[in-house]
Symmetry: C2
Subunit: 259 residues, 2 copies
């Protein structure tokens, strides 16, 4: 690890009042200097959305004497990272951590997740980044069992850095501390949500819908994040933001695009 106290940017997508981010702030303040910039309201499933057609507000919610500086932001998780880096921080942070999300961001959920999009945005800006999620959607989820693992993973990343163009997607099973078997580097399982729209009627008789769905894991591999989590391991997936399917380029080049 570098000799100075590391500068740690903390964000999330459940909003700055969520117990998950409080747990994360607690662990981070044992490691370095913490700055929090998080959404002022829940922003789950916002993906990599940014605010371009609307104004953004930033509120400093910590007092001058507080040990930890905290801002809430009216935008998305990705907006929070952009505002932190460009408007608040005077130097690039050593690490950006996002979470702890109330609920899974394993497998295909990484695509929809505001938590992970914040980490990916930091990665794009050249900041090592980790998204943490606990497989418990309850607002009163117990984050105690995972705190020592969050600290271990964070210290490991501060010590060794991350490969270029890669951020980590860390998911924790909902288990007691002594039931967790350890940390596994995994690939993203092939999975999807099969939607079932719940159709209802407004008091005025107009149809409307609620999105709901069932998670379907199509992947039987034992090297996936889903397998790890089902078997009481913490899953760590290296996530990239170069979306090019390099393996497909040769096949596509055999087609007659320019005839």
């Amino acid at each position: 690890m570098k000799n100075h106290s590391p500068l740690l940017l903390v964000t999330n997508d459940d909003g700055i009042t969520a117990p998950g981010i409080k747990a994360l702030i607690e662990v981070m303040s044992e490691i370095g200097t913490v700055i929090v910039v998080a959404p002022d309201k829940p922003q789950s499933a916002m993906g990599h959305a940014i605010t371009i057609n609307n104004t953004l507000y930033l509120n400093k919610i910590s007092k001058e004497e507080d040990l930890i500086t905290q801002y809430s932001c009216s935008g998305t998780p990705v907006d929070c990272v952009k505002m932190a880096v460009n408007e608040i921080l005077k130097q690039k942070p050593d690490l950006c951590v996002s979470g702890v999300n109330h609920g899974s961001n394993s497998s295909i959920n990484v695509i929809y997740s505001g938590t992970m999009s914040a980490a990916v945005e930091a990665g794009i800006e050249g900041i090592p980044a980790i998204g943490f999620s606990l497989l418990d959607y309850d607002w009163n989820a117990d984050f105690e069992p995972i705190k020592k693992y969050i600290k271990k993973i964070t210290l490991e990343v501060l010590e060794n850095g991350l490969p270029e163009g890669v951020v980590l997607n860390v998911n924790f099973p909902k288990r007691k501390e002594n039931e967790i078997k350890g940390i596994k580097i995994c690939r993203q399982a092939k999975a999807l949500w099969v939607e079932k729209f719940d159709k209802r009627e407004t008091p005025q008789g107009r149809d409307y819908y609620w999105l709901s769905g069932t998670f379907v894991n199509q992947d039987k591999g034992e090297d996936t994040d889903e397998w790890a989590l089902e078997n009481d391991y913490i899953s760590v997936v290296p996530v990239q933001f170069d979306l090019t399917a390099h393996h497909a380029m040769q096949q596509l080049n055999t087609l007659k695009w320019n005839d």
Copy 2:
């Protein structure tokens, strides 16, 4: 190509009234049966956001006698694809096309793009998909020069399919038809937006911000989408939604996660 008239799902992120989607519908109706499900308002830069904490509305805006069935949806581009597949279409479409976007979705823009997220969502659901974008942000952009290329690319994909887990990100340079040099299969250029927040004051004296930024291409490669577009080619990037950085797994496995 299959013998039946292909079923083509059309969506976008600029909203159902945008000239770009009208151009796309025009080309698609020369190829097969067209169903349009597109946002009822602009949804640019929404990334892979979905609507889970709010209601969704769907409006059939075409008349019974119209040749093309069109729905507007109150949600994001990804919501549109989910609603089309699960609520509107009785069979899986042969192809989903998204766009034509008013503005670039090349390189890192793919991450923020609602246009591309719609295509990616279709891909996740096992539907071949293409996102089309023109490097012209003008509402009155001229889509005529690119129509024959949209048709060519669409027919090629209907004829040959796409590699599993891959959708196409197609960007067109703002050029006359005879100035376009052809179609190139490319990788996503390494690039980012460097933000500059424009700080203003409300009439009541409260600070607010507008997000704005400068696009920075850090990639000198001649095999990238940015290079192709600057040199008057149409760029086609195969995009994947398995975000695992497989190349980084070995390196990460050398760290001491479980000591």
